[in-house]
Amino acid sequence: MIGIIDYGAGNVGNIRRALDFMKRESVVLVSPPSERSSMPDALILPGVGSFGPAMSKIGSSGWREALHIWIHDERPIIGICLGMQLLCEGSEEDNTIKGLGIFDGKALKLKGTKKLPHIGWNTVTWPDSGKSPCFYFVHSFALPVCSDTIAVTSVDSCVFTSIARKGRALGFQFHPERSGSAGLDLLGESLRELGV
């Protein structure tokens, strides 16, 4: 069972429909289950909008503490788009509030791009494999290349982390649930790799 966190700032429906299509069972969670035994096998943290309000909602919905415990226990979590940025130490978008602190560094506004937001299908490159399929991006902030980077993307002269991984936490800056078959395949593979 995959839990999709609904803290009021994510496109929960599209992720749920993608998991349905992939025949993976999911449940939308508005607040953390009170019983630890009723927690799902993995969590997906979506996110649309801006960092500050999203992080505040995580706090007010009770998810901040639950996520800290979840992360401490090294249980599987996937952050998507803003959800990935929430897993960073913080974001330049709002310096007054901390992130969940998994990934090494802060999300920064993209620099060196001709147009913002960065909207559209861009190549994601895994430096080890030489593979570089396209995924759908919509964002203005991103994690710079860091020790948790496993794949990168470039826009004009800007290079950023498009996939980060630390332990069993994974972050996608793009939207696998909006990236056609390549996106659904990647989401499926990633869940399997995380042991879900």
Binding site: N14, R17, F21, V48, K115, L116, G120, W121, H175, R178
Partner: protein, 256 residues
């Protein structure tokens, strides 16, 4: 590398897809969800749906077809047509649309752009602009499906739209629309020089060369309707030709 997007446009009337020729004559072309799924499998990068129903109970039918499109579509889609308030826009996003497009209502009430952008984020707000070239060589904005001139200058309107918070411009040349003689490349260039947000070119696609020209004029995405609906251009072939012409495009496999 950021690829250039190919966007089929589907006009929806009373829950069915139709295609307008010169914003007028209509012929039935099918079910929105079925066509959407087919376009995704053909390699469309994104879809735009415009609900052209005039009926007052449009909201009900719009809810139905948007929900049904979202069910099996895993590429982004935009919904436009008569969106008059941020709550209505939010409802469409909640149903699964990635973006909403504003046209007439934004001209009537420009503050709607900023209210939608602050509620949904700029990335979800597309400003659709229908234009016609005047005798003075400038482009004038038209509303109500191209029927009503506004006196607004295209360039000042798209700049204002950007400053109010829209995330993309969907630029339709009424002079080119339906002609299949090519996009209005001068118009595309003029808009791309004036704003720093992505521009979707629309109106006039007839062959592969037209797409290449629009992209070389600065368009980030090219939208077309009839050439795709009636199969005179197949998206996989188009993308191969674009790639051969040096335009970066996404080549997608079939989703079963």
């Amino acid at each position: 590398m950021l690829t250039r997007r190919i966007i089929p446009c589907l006009d929806v009337l009373a829950g069915r897809v139709v295609k307008g020729i010169h914003f007028r004559d209509l012929s039935d072309a099918g079910d929105p969800a079925t066509l959407a799924f087919e376009y995704m499998n053909e390699g469309a990068d994104e879809l735009v749906f415009l609900d052209i129903s005039a009926s007052t109970d449009k909201r009900g039918t719009m809810t139905d077809w948007v929900r049904s499109v979202a069910e099996n579509l895993f590429i982004p889609f935009t919904v436009g047509g008569g969106i008059s308030g941020p709550e209505q826009a939010r409802d469409l996003i909640t149903l699964g649309a990635d973006k909403i497009s504003l046209n007439t209502s934004a001209v009537m009430e420009p503050g709607l752009i900023s209210r939608c952008a602050s509620l949904l984020g700029s990335q979800a707000v597309v400003l659709a602009v229908d234009v016609k070239r005047g005798d003075d060589g400038r482009w004038e904005v038209f509303i109500r499906g191209g029927r009503t001139p506004t006196g607004l200058d295209l360039i000042s309107w798209v700049r204002r739209g950007q400053s109010l918070g829209c995330g993309e411009i969907l630029l339709t040349s009424m002079d080119s629309d339906g002609t299949r003689d090519g996009y209005d490349n001068r118009c595309i260039e003029a808009v791309c020089e004036s704003v720093s947000i992505p521009v979707i070119a629309s109106g006039g696609a007839g062959n592969t060369r037209h797409f290449i020209d629009a992209f070389n004029s600065g368009a980030d995405a090219a939208l077309a309707a009839s050439v795709f609906h009636f199969g005179s251009i197949l998206i996989p072939d188009l993308k191969k030709d674009l790639a051969n012409a040096g335009i970066p495009v996404r080549i997608e496999e079939v989703l079963s």
